[in-house]
Amino acid sequence: MPSYFRQARNVELSLLYYLQTNLNTDWAGTTTAKTFKQVYAKDVNLPIVCVRLADTNSFRKEIGSTTLEDRYLLVIDIFSTSDGQRLDMADYIKTKLADGWVSYTHSHPSGDNTSLSRTSNGRDMVTEWINDGRVDIGQDVDEKDKFRHTISIRVRHSS
């Protein structure tokens, strides 16, 4: 009996899968990650793109309705090798996000968390662009923090 993931998790994994697929084709050598722990691991090299579901806000679809409409805050952190790459990669990712992407329902066999299955389930799209800019921590910083960029988006799932 497969164990299906809930929508919030599916939204995060769908975006990660979408960017991973595109980056593997257009930007070979880029690592995609889901946590800062993975980003800062010693055996992971630049460039790195980290996708995280940071927050969810819900509101009722209509007056009197108990159905919730969710908006997901997804944060995409880009860790680059140079400032030029940072700008190019940010622009590339924004272009890819603009038209939306296929959303998947993920699952894995009960008791087995090593394999992941995905079934197409509608689309996810950006409703607001909250933040798009350089992350400037300073001059004397770790190699991975030198050329960073962050893109924050509000995402809506449509079945």
């Binding site: 995280r52 806000n57 952190d77 909250i130 933040n131 992350v135 910083v141 991975k144 924050s152």
Partner: protein
């Protein structure tokens, strides 16, 4: 011959005063929204901070709301960068995450009241007490983990975008309200 002119409807002066009154009502509403947004940002930080024990809430207290009332523009802003850089200069790295100091850096200070991290409070190898640099008693700490990104600015913007859409959309179609992060 006598000509009598009778004005029908709202006189221009009264109409003008009604408009001003609505603007004042809207300004008060925006100011209240600014306060609520500031409170929301403070609450996000308070809830999600990593080291709650012994925390003085310095970052939360440094975040305030500011009003710019200009002739053609009424702005309510949350958090003043120049104030944050003085009162809580780590506000930036707490939001975006990263290495505050290079890994392996040795710093001197203490956890909690006066000591080394309390093992009973340890999380996944990381203590949960606040850390004070440079005051006695001094213990050597070695930086091993980066600051994790809290993204309290983006989370507050996400909340605000939901609130504004729900409560203001109907009668603010002629007014542009946008949420964005200004550096």
């Amino acid at each position: 011959m006598e000509v009598q002119v009778t004005q029908i409807g709202t006189p221009p002066l009264v109409f003008h005063k009604n408009i001003l009154l609505k603007f004042i009502t809207m300004k008060n509403g925006l100011k209240n929204l600014g306060q609520a947004t500031r409170d929301r940002m403070r609450q996000t930080i308070e809830t999600e901070k990593h080291r709650k024990a012994g925390s003085k809430g310095t970052l939360e207290k440094a975040i305030n709301y500011y009003v710019d009332d200009l002739p053609n523009n009424y702005t309510v802003g949350i958090g003043l960068v120049s104030e944050l850089n003085v009162k809580a200069p780590y506000w930036y790295i707490v939001n975006y995450g990263g290495w505050a100091l290079p890994p392996g850096t040795e710093i001197w200070g203490h956890f909690g009241e006066y000591g080394v991290p309390d093992p009973a409070k340890a999380g996944t190898g990381v203590g949960r007490e606040s850390f004070t640099i440079g005051t006695f008693p001094l213990y050597k700490m070695t930086v091993r983990h980066p600051i994790w990104a809290m993204n309290y600015i983006e989370k507050t913007a996400n909340w605000l975008a939901t609130v504004v859409k729900i409560h203001f959309y109907g009668w603010t179609k002629q007014t542009k309200i946008s949420t964005f992060v200004r550096k």
